[in-house]
């Protein structure tokens, strides 16, 4: 029995100590406003997400130079979820419950967002998600500052169908096999059918993550394109696999004038790893390009390159999304006079920010932004040149009209709806 009591003592002490540690960190100073940054700094996604962490640090730094917010300094709390999805949920919880952050900016992949979603909803916290995604979601606790499919995919396809885009009649839908490409392609398929494109004129292909041998697929695309109709490729290939894909395109001599490839996940950052001379004319659809001429953008690029201490670093669309998201959040906090999540959320609706493209982005009650859609062609210097843009900003759809089950749903978090996926108002 003596042994047992000894053993118990061995357990009690460390656990109590751990508990004490936890509560001690929790009570810490409340004279700063804490902003959580939840982006992978290691693992497969570090390649894209590290830049966003730096963007957030820059924005917070800048805000502090302007005197902070509500008379307090902002404090960035950076953690590394290491491209590990369960770890994302754990870190989100850590940020909200333990580090007591007031808002979180983070995530890149859909699965990471899905992983943290229940945490944010349970703890009623706020996440700004800056990446283009498949839609089909509207959470009360997430603001989606990236593009929904109707802000990227559909306008791009419309452009390629039009005379200016080359009147494409035959379509290759190429993607990495995960939910974003699958959903986008599903929406596109429905859209193309509605436009009278035949089933036999659509080819859909999927590859694993990090696919590096594109010989067969590029050759297949060529073969598919030799059926006598103008062919275009819609690529939802995920970040890492793009470099070998474009290298293969260049080497197999697929010219944009013959078979244009429009991509939704390729931005300036991805292109910085490739020699773009053979790729001139291939396209991408985004809500922002680094090449856009506006005073805001010029200023932002200068600040970014100064902050990161490199003249070579580029800016991209998700960075702009964080820029807009952060500006909106600060405005909403000022308006609400508090960082309380419920108050800030109410203040977010209708909040307007001048985006880097010079247009006004507005937050809608479905938690999506209205932004202009730009189509750019790749230039030989690794930049995009805008060849087409929508007349005005397009409102992001949480639910696609091209998926029958989703078309019925409405996302509207204002009275009387107060709902992310309802068919009738809820009258809370």
């Amino acid at each position: 029995m003596l042994k047992l009591s000894k053993a118990i003592r061995r357990i009690v002490v460390p656990i109590a100590a751990a508990g004490a540690l936890v509560s001690a960190t929790a009570v810490q100073a409340a004279d700063t406003i804490k902003v959580g940054v939840l982006h992978s700094l290691s693992g497969t996604m570090a390649i894209s997400e590290t830049t966003l962490k730096d963007t957030m640090l820059m924005l917070i730094d800048e805000q502090n130079k302007k005197g902070g917010l509500l008379g307090k300094k902002l404090e960035a709390v950076v953690v590394d979820p290491a491209s590990n999805w369960p770890l994302f949920a754990e870190k989100a919880r850590d940020l909200i419950q333990n580090k007591k952050v007031d808002v979180v900016f983070g995530c890149w992949t859909s699965v990471s967002r899905k992983s943290v979603l229940p945490v944010f909803e349970e703890l009623n916290s706020m996440l700004f998600y800056p990446v283009q995604y498949e839609g089909e979601e509207s959470s009360r606790n997430v603001f989606y500052t990236g593009a929904a499919p109707n802000q990227q995919a559909i306008p791009a396809v419309e452009y390629l169908m039009g005379e200016d885009g080359g009147s494409a009649k035959r379509w290759v839908l190429l993607g990495t096999d995960y939910v974003y490409p699958r959903t986008t392609n599903k929406i596109l398929r429905a859209f193309l059918k509605a436009k009278g494109v035949k089933e036999s004129d659509i080819m859909e292909k999927y590859t694993p993550f990090g696919h590096s041998d594109w010989q067969t697929i590029v050759a297949d695309v060529k073969k598919f394109a030799s059926a006598g109709k103008k062919t275009a490729v819609v690529s939802t290939i995920n970040g890492d696999a793009n470099v070998p894909f474009y290298k293969e395109l260049g080497n197999q001599g697929i010219k944009a004038e013959d078979i244009p490839v429009v991509a939704f996940s390729v931005g300036e950052e991805e292109l910085s790893g490739i020699d773009t001379k053979p790729l001139v004319g291939h396209l991408a659809a985004w809500n922002y390009f680094m090449s856009v001429e506006s005073p805001e953008n010029k200023d932002f690029i200068a600040k970014w390159q100064k902050f990161i201490k490199s003249k070579k670093r580029v800016t991209n669309d998700p960075m702009e999304a964080h820029y807009i998201g952060f500006k909106m959040w600060t405005q909403a906090v000022k308006q609400a006079g508090t960082t309380n999540v419920d108050a800030v959320r109410q203040a977010m609706y209708g909040q307007k920010v001048k985006s880097l493209t010079g247009t006004v982005a507005e937050m809608h009650p479905n938690h999506h932004l209205s932004k202009p859609v730009l189509i750019g062609e790749i230039q030989d210097n690794g930049q995009f040149e805008t060849v087409w843009k929508t007349k005005g900003p397009v409102v992001g759809d949480a639910w696609s009209n091209y998926i029958p089950e989703s078309a019925k749903l409405t996302a509207n978090w204002k009275f009387p709806w107060v709902c992310g996926n309802c068919q009738k108002p809820k009258h809370f």
């Binding site: 590394d80 333990n98 089909e136 699958r182």
Partner: protein
Amino acid sequence: MSMTQSNGPFSFLYADKGGQIFLAILFGAAVLVPILNLVLPASSVFHMPTWVVSLLGKYLCFALLALSVDLIWGFCGILSLGHGAFFALGGYAMGMYLMRQIGDRGVYGNATLPDFMVFLNWKELPWYWHGFDNFAFAMVMVLLVPGLLGFVFGWLTFRSRVTGVYLSIISQAMTYALLLAFFRNDMGFGGNNGLTDFKDILGFDIQANGTRVSLFLASIVALASCYLICRYIVSSKLGRVLIGIRDAENRVRFLGYRVEHYKLFVFTLSSLMAGVAGALYVPQVGIINPSEFSPANSIEIVIWVAIGGRGSLYGAALGAILVNYGKTYFTGALPEAWLFVLGGLFVAVTLFLPKGIVGTVPSFKAMTRSRNSRSETAKTATGETDG
């Protein structure tokens, strides 16, 4: 807890001092954690927040997984670099149950189809999803699926006498193939997004404190009972044969033992345990996704075992808990440099603590003793090789 004194069925624990301590710690945690979480008011200094309970629960699942690897690696010399696969399969079986429990509370309000099927336009539930709305059936599957895969894989490889690194590499190939397969959306397991947004388990809200604590307790019970099973096996005659196989497989075979039967048994058992660990893990972290199948994860499990101390069972559990706590801590405290720390730790442990943490304590004692008496015993104790 008077098992140490009885002559009953737990006699195999007599000589296992570390195991006694280990079980005592588990028991203590099982008593204390619920009190700290549920009884103490949130304002108390000693109150343990629910997320810490879940975090501990997650560590315990990893500990159980490490235990299952130690059983085959530490005692039978089978280095599986694919054990994450069994863990993930158990997790998926549980995840499927939890998905079916959501019912019409999904975003599309479809009572039978999970959300990801609705928006991929699936019209009906695939056949392999049937039955998972029943908890008992799902629990059978938690055991059956990983167990069956372990059995088939083991039956194939041990029968044809694939050993050593060959076995390690093909087990890695197995988990990699499963990773790619589960990754496909056409497989009907949610693709890369996996299964998430669970609502409740057996009718209890999965986010509620009580459920969380219960899951934690279930993890402790699972870990403790699996520990007892493993300890029982390795102290039995069967265990001695296993150790014989580990040290000199051919000799054991020449003595007339059917080596492959022994290996198959212990490998299947180990995959069952890994499956249970996965099933307990999923409701506590709230997501299961194909990345659990990734070869890197499986390698990491082996590393936990090595750090804790191979061949001691509780050492494996300790290693899993320590490394994962380190991960939790350093990814928050040193987000930019934690890989240096973790990588450095792995290198340092292999170089300086070749027997892991728990293996080093006794050999350290032996070393000081030998230094005092200038005897040769220490050299023979540390000079043994394994492989």
